[in-house]
């Protein structure tokens, strides 16, 4: 059995145990609470936590189970995304990778990442008749320090903007957790890295807050390409 299968078996067992407990509990007067009502509230909160009913039935959208589940959820939560926020119980985790934001051509193609800025600096010194190695070293330190500071400040501004936006969302009462990587040398393209959310991310609300914060936050003061970028995908050594 793979780890994933074992996890799923645990989930299955844990869920049954929990629902069985809920189905067998009694009020103080000996009556049994309405299990259907309990289950409906639990499923609505679950749907809100992962981004809505669509997400819950996406695996097999045409199945009879999906049909009943979808009707149950829409009857409780409605069709308006804004209404779903009231049901959410889990914090919204918004992840930010500043290096990815700067270096990914899809977001800001005119901006240079730290490596690109240092390479550009190197090209300037290499083209000079006599390269001043001390000045080159000093410039490398300055550029690196500037990128480090700018990325940190950007993350602070982004966090404030994200929290401000979330506070204005009616019905959203859960915590906003921001996970930021501000290291200008971070390998954001690796599988284990903190990455910026995409449309395929598991939580659409996280993406919505991220986009709003991104749109409201001035970018870090980094180097810009004088012309079109030389490569479409950044290459790290």
């Amino acid at each position: 059995m793979t780890a994933t299968r074992r996890d799923d078996t645990d989930l299955y067992t844990d869920t049954i145990t929990m629902l069985t407990q809920a189905a067998t509990r009694h009020h103080a007067d000996g009556t049994t609470p309405d299990f259907a009502d309990f289950l409906t509230q639990v499923l609505a909160a679950t749907a809100a936590n992962v981004g809505g009913p669509d997400r819950l039935v996406a695996g097999r959208p045409g199945s009879w189970e999906a049909g009943h589940l979808d009707e149950l959820l829409r009857g409780t939560m409605g069709n308006d995304r804004a209404d779903w926020l009231w049901f959410r119980t889990e914090p919204v985790t918004v992840s930010l990778n500043v290096a990815e934001l700067i270096e990914d051509d899809l977001t800001h193609p005119g901006l240079m990442g730290l490596d690109e800025a240092l390479e550009s600096l190197g090209r300037q010194y290499e083209s000079a008749a006599v390269a001043d190695l001390h000045a080159w070293d000093s410039d490398i330190e300055d550029v690196t320090a500037r990128y480090t500071t700018e990325y940190l400040l950007y993350a602070d501004r982004f966090t404030a903007a994200a929290c401000g936006y979330a506070r204005q969302l009616p019905g959203l009462t859960v915590r906003i957790e921001l996970k930021a990587d501000t290291n200008p040398n971070n390998a954001w393209w690796t599988a284990t890295a903190v990455t910026n959310p995409t449309a395929n991310s598991s939580d659409p609300l996280s993406l919505q807050i991220w986009q709003a914060a991104h749109d409201a936050t001035p970018l870090p003061n980094v180097d810009i390409w004088p012309g079109p970028p030389t490569t479409s995908t950044p290459v790290r050594s």
Binding site: M18, A36, V42, T46, L69, D70, T76, E90, S202
Partner: protein
């Protein structure tokens, strides 16, 4: 907030947390992908654990949400025991009080231990049994030992029958029988271990109890209409026992 409300909220929070984990797993590639199917299966198992559809949903569903929950349940399991018993994940705990089986009206032809002792005493009084006090006590002791053996033996047979009944109907989890084999058991007291009744908390336990009871030969004890001898049927034979 009362403690009952508090427990209910904790249960709800815990259930949301677990189902959210399942829903998040449903979005991961190669993992649990069919969340709606997952919900239908866990509902079937929940229904089986609490003793059937009626336990989760007493009466016809009245609200639209209740109708969908009911439809999810009915789509996976029906009303028939054989359909939903295989979904059960929690062991079935069956209680058995042998004295109650004998004395509680299920077998009016059988005599409980107290009545059997009374009968021995009556015989002594009438001069039909042992003529000394010591011999009379020995006769009573023999009846008690006989009942103890029979009640234990009955419980053993009952356990085998209950397990077999569960397996025959597709039960994949264990059947645990908690038995009181004391022939002096005060089964009518509130604190006693008693046999399940129709409408008990776990309908599966009740159903398996009935099936096991029907399949198990009753204890070989004194018959109500026959005279009780001063020893067990193994030594005296003809006037004891049941069929």
């Amino acid at each position: 907030m009362t403690s009952v409300q508090c427990v209910q909220q904790e249960l709800e929070a815990e259930a949301i947390h677990i189902l959210t984990r399942a829903a998040q797993a449903a979005t991961r590639e190669g993992s649990l992908q069919d969340f709606a199917g997952f919900v239908a299966r866990v509902l079937a198992s929940t229904a089986a654990n609490v003793g059937g559809l009626q336990r989760l949903h007493p009466g016809p569903p009245e609200t639209p949400a209740a109708r969908q929950v009911y439809a999810l349940l009915c789509g996976t399991v029906g009303d028939d025991l054989g359909e939903w018993l295989p979904h059960r994940t929690q062991p079935v705990i069956i209680s058995l009080n042998v004295a109650q089986v004998v004395e509680g009206g299920l077998h009016p032809d059988l005599l409980g231990l107290a009545a059997a002792i009374d009968r021995v005493a009556e015989r002594c009084t009438r001069g039909e049994g042992p003529s000394t006090l010591v011999a009379g006590q020995a006769a009573i002791d023999a009846v008690v030992a006989w009942y103890r053996d029979e009640y234990r033996s009955y419980a053993d047979r009952f356990v085998v029958a209950a397990e077999a009944a569960g397996m025959e109907r597709g039960l994949r989890v264990g059947v645990h029988v908690t038995a009181d084999t004391n022939p002096f058991s005060a089964w009518s007291s509130k604190t006693a271990l008693t046999n399940p009744r129709d409408g008990s908390a776990d309908q599966v336990a009740y159903t398996l109890w009935e099936l096991a009871h029907d399949a198990t030969r009753p204890p070989h004890v004194a018959l109500a209409g026959a005279p009780t001898a001063d020893a067990s049927p193994r030594s005296k034979g003809s006037d004891h026992g049941s069929t």
